[in-house]
Structure formats: C-alpha cells, structure tokens
C-alpha cells in the first residue's frame, strides 16, 4: 500500500511538471513558432526546408516518408536494428533449442484460462482464412504506396507479421510455422537490415556519403537524382518491412509456445 501511495505522489508531481511545461508550448500548428519558422538571426528552420523543398528534391509527396527514409535515414536504419535486437533478445531468453526435451506440462484447463471453446473454433478459423489474404494484400499496398499515402515499411511490416500471427491464432502455431518457418523468418529479418545497409553502402562506393541516395541514378538509370531518391526509399521500406514482419512473428511464436516452437496457441 505504501508503494502505491508513493507511486501516486510521483505520478502526480511528474504530471504537474509536464503540464507546466506544456504551457510554454507554441500553439498547435502555429506557423510562426520557432520550430516551424526558425529563429530570427539563427539558422533557417529544418521543417521549413522539408515543407518547401522535399517534393522538389525527392519527388515523394508524403513528407513523412521522405523525412523518415531519406533525410533521417540513418535514424530509421537503427530503429530497424533496435527492432531486430528486440527480436533477438526474446529469442535468446526464451528459445529452447534442445528439441529432445519433453514438451512442457500443459497448463491445467481451468475456467480461468478458458478463452475459446472448440465449438467457436470453426467460426474463428473461417473468419481468419477470409481475412488473411486481404490483410496481406493491403499490407503490400501500404509498403509499396508509402510514398504517396500514409504508411510505409513499419506499418506494412507489422500488418504482414500480424497476418501470420492471425494464421496461428485462427488455426495453430504449427500451420503458421509451416508457411513461415523459423529459419526463413530469422534470415528474412537479417536480410531486411542488409538491404537497408546496402542502400547506405553503395553510395559510399560511388564516392558519396552513407545513405546519399541521389547518386544511385547511375544504377537505376533514372533521369535525375530525385527519382533515384524516390526509388531508393521504396527499396529501404521493403527492407524495413521484411525485418519488422519477421521480428513481429518471431516474438509472437517464441512467446506463445514458450520458446518450443511446437504446441503453443
């Protein structure tokens, strides 16, 4: 009880400090705020440059994608690595590679963990079978159309991973692993990061900076560096989507089967 009281006091103090800080914020969407208009006499504002120039420089209408995958590509690359590391951490902690161990004791089927009876399984299974192809096609659209509409590698990758999780939830984990085996998804996760890193390293070999996509016009044979940047963003998004999809499914498979990759949900 004492811990709860002190935690509540800490939360209230933190909330009060945050509210006090919010009072100094510029208004929502204020074009004259320092973040949008820059400081007088200082450097010009970065967001003004993105808003005015990013379409001319990259031919990508979705400002968010061009900032994420091009101007701030280095951050996005290591965000992907963070997701990969999270998946690896779960793998290292939970995965039991000694396959001759007996399966863990099945948990007692008490009222407590009764979620889905057998009579409902056919409804759930059929609904999942109908939904999965639609989810996957929409996910591919989200990845491929991330330049022009909201979306991109992270969102599309999560949806692709969720479609495989849905296979496991609607049927069982064995069916899902038959479609996307453990070897495959761990390789795909690494491949995604390697694709991203390749888009960084190839410009270096052509004498430019890491992730400076503009120079790739010599490889993509586009007319001008703008379209090369646009195409490279698509490639980078595909890499992110592969990693995110594999890691989402890897985390679920490890968690739900307690690292055995058999049985499970």
């Amino acid at each position: 009880m004492n811990a709860k009281v002190s935690a509540t006091i800490a939360v209230i103090i933190t909330g009060a400090v945050l509210l006090y800080g919010v009072a100094d914020f510029p208004d929502f969407g204020d074009p004259t705020s320092p973040a949008n208009a820059g400081v007088e006499g200082g450097a010009p504002s970065a967001s003004l440059h993105f808003i005015n120039e990013s379409y001319k420089e990259t031919k990508v209408p979705n400002l968010v994608t061009s900032v994420l995958a091009d101007y701030r590509g280095y951050d996005t690359m290591f965000e992907t690595v963070v997701i990969f590391a999270a998946g690896l951490a779960i793998f290292v902690i939970l995965r039991n590679l000694r396959s001759d161990d007996p399966l863990p004791e099945p948990l007692p089927a008490t009222e407590d963990r009764f979620i889905d009876g057998d009579h409902q399984r056919i409804i759930v299974g059929t609904t999942c079978r109908i939904a999965i192809p639609l989810v996957q096609i929409f996910a591919l659209y989200v990845v491929a159309h991330g330049h022009h509409s909201p979306g991109g590698g992270f969102q599309g990758g999560v949806m692709l991973g969720a479609s495989f999780i849905l296979v496991a939830l609607g049927g069982n984990l064995r069916d899902a692993l038959a479609r996307l085996g453990e070897d495959t998804f761990m390789r795909l996760a690494s491949l995604g990061i390697l694709i991203y890193a390749a888009f960084g390293l190839v410009p270096q070999f052509l004498g430019r900076n890491f992730l400076d996509y503009g120079v790739l016009e010599k490889i993509f044979l586009t007319d001008g560096p703008e379209m090369a940047r646009s195409h490279s963003m698509l490639g980078v998004e595909v890499g992110v989507a592969l990693t995110v999809m594999s890691i989402m499914f890897a985390i679920f498979a490890n968690l739900s089967s307690r690292g055995e990759m058999r049985g499970g949900l």
Binding site: F28, G29, N62, V64, T65, L107, D112, R113, I115, V142, P150, G151, G152, F154, Q155, V158, M159, G161, A162, I165, L169, M248, I251, F252, L255, S256, R258, L265
Partner: protein, 81 residues
C-alpha cells in the same frame, strides 16, 4: 482540430488508462489497453499525424495486445496487486 471531439477522446483515454491499471484480470487489462491504443490512434489521426496514427493502430492496438494475450496464456491471468 475539433475541440469537442478532442475532449471526448481525452476523457475516454483517461477512463481507459485508469481501468487498465485497476483491473485484477490481466486479460481484461490488456484488452482495455488495446482500446487505449486505439483512442490515441484516433486522437493522432484527428490532429493530422496520420502516419503515427497508422503505426499506433497496427502496433499499439493490434500486435502488442496479441503479444500480451500470448504471454498471459503462458503465465497467470490474475494480477496479485
């Protein structure tokens, strides 16, 4: 930005957060946390941050709820505090 919609969403957000902290049944708690994630997603979409809202809908309301449920099924469903 629609102020009245914001206020409604924020009230539901606080209610969902308090409920998800308060319930003893962890399965209900994670479901309410999914509702919380979806309300935040609506709030972001309404403020114009569509990409962030999309991510929140997929990760916060979708996959993380599933991961919580998968973990609860392999541990205990009741919270002790």
């Amino acid at each position: 930005m629609i102020l009245s919609l914001n206020i409604v969403l924020l009230v539901f957000l606080v209610v969902a957060a308090v409920i998800s902290l308060g319930v003893k049944d962890l399965l209900s708690g994670s479901m309410v946390l999914g509702i919380y994630g979806f309300l935040i997603c609506l709030l972001w979409a309404e403020m114009g941050a569509v990409d962030v809202a999309f991510t929140e809908a997929a990760v916060g309301a979708g996959v993380s709820t599933v991961l919580f449920v998968a973990t609860i099924l392999n541990t205990k469903r009741r919270s002790t505090d």
